[in-house]
Symmetry: C2
Subunit: 190 residues, 2 copies
C-alpha cells in the first residue's frame, strides 16, 4: 500500500539546516554535515555502501515527491523531476513562469498529498521540508517519518519540528544503526 513518508536528515538537537539558510547557501552553514551519510563510494551524492544504502533504495522506489516551496526553490525544483518521478510543491502562491511544466503547485496540503498519491500509484510519496511536514502532520495526511538522525549537535539553525497543536503518537517501524546515522522509521498512529 502506498504511504506518504517524510524523509529528513536531522541533528540530535533537531536541526535540519544550519544558520544563514537562503538561496545561494541552501541548507545554511554546514548543511552538508547532515548529508555525509548520503554519499556514494566516490564522495558524490549516491547510493551509500552498507546498510545506509537501504534508505537510498527506498527513495528510488518512491513514485512522487511532495516538497515545500522553500526547499523546492533552493534545489531549483530538482530540474523538473526527482529520480524520474513527478514533483508536487505545496505553496500558497502560484508557480513562477520559469518552473518546469512537470512540477505541480498545490495550495492545500490535503489536496497536494491526494494528487501526489494518485501520481505515485502503489508506490510511496516522499515528503520533504519542515513546514510541509508539520502541515501534513496537522492535516493527518502523513503516514510515516524516516528520520536519519546524525550524531552531531548543530547548536543552531532551522528545526524540523517546532510547535505542533497536538501530541502525536508514533510506532517505531525499523531502526538501521550505522556509525554515520541512526535511521529510524516511524509510523503515525491513527
Amino acid at each position: 500500500m502506498s504511504s506518504s513518508v517524510l524523509l529528513m536528515s536531522m541533528s540530535l538537537d533537531g536541526y535540519i539546516a544550519g544558520p544563514n539558510d537562503r538561496p545561494g547557501n541552501p541548507g545554511g552553514d554546514g548543511f552538508m554535515r547532515l548529508h555525509e551519510w548520503y554519499e556514494g563510494p566516490d564522495g558524490e551524492f549516491g547510493r551509500p555502501t552498507g546498510p545506509d544504502g537501504e534508505i537510498w533504495d527506498d527513495i528510488q522506489a518512491s513514485g512522487a515527491v511532495l516538497v515545500g516551496r522553500r526547499t523546492a526553490e533552493q534545489v531549483d525544483y530538482y530540474g523538473g523531476s526527482h529520480h524520474g518521478v513527478p514533483v508536487f510543491v505545496f505553496s500558497g502562491r502560484p508557480a513562477p513562469e520559469s518552473v518546469p511544466k512537470s512540477v505541480t503547485f498545490v495550495d492545500d496540503i490535503a489536496n497536494a498529498m491526494a494528487q501526489a498519491k494518485v501520481a505515485a500509484g502503489d508506490r510511496d510519496v516522499i515528503v520533504h521540508g519542515a513546514y510541509t511536514a508539520q502541515k501534513a502532520l496537522e492535516a493527518g495526511v502523513l503516514d510515516e517519518l524516516q528520520i536519519d538522525q546524525i550524531p552531531v549537535l548543530f547548536g543552531q539553525g532551522l528545526r524540523l519540528f517546532d510547535v505542533l497543536p497536538n501530541r502525536i503518537e508514533l510506532d517505531v517501524v525499523k531502526v538501521i544503526d550505522t556509525p554515520a546515522a541512526t535511521h529510524i522509521r516511524y509510523r503515525v498512529r491513527r
Copy 2:
C-alpha cells in the same frame, strides 16, 4: 574509566518535559509518556524487562549524580541520595536549609563535575537536567549522552537542547532498539 553521562528521555521533537512544568506538576503535562519505558513488570518505576533494562543497570552501576537545581527541587533531592550514591546540585544560589546534608551544592559546572567524579571513583557520573547538560557541554566536561528517544511528537514543552554556542560532534557508541524507545548512547568527540 569513569565517564560523565547525560541521561534523558526525549521525544522525537526534542522535548523532555510537557507544558506547565512546575513544582506540583514535575515534568509538565504528560511527562509520564516519556518514561513509560522505565517501568518494571508491576507498572511502577523499576527495571524494565528486556533490552530496555540495560539502561536501568547502567544507572544502578553509576557512582554519583549531578543534577540541575530545577530538576532536583522537583524530585525533592531524591530524598538525599540517588540509588545510594551522592547527589551534586549545580546551582548559582546557596542550598536551602531543608536540603539533606548528603546533597552538595556547587555553583561552577566544572567544579561540580570534578567533585562528582571524585565521589564516583571508577564509576560513571549520571547527569540530569537540560540546563546542566548544556552548561556541561559548553564547559567540555560531559563525556557521553544516553538519549532514550521516545516515539512521540510532544508538540510543546521544554526542550533538551536549545541553542549551543558551538557545533559538537558525537560518535554513536551503542543503539538499543525496542518498541518503547530508541536508546542511543553517544560519546562527545574531543
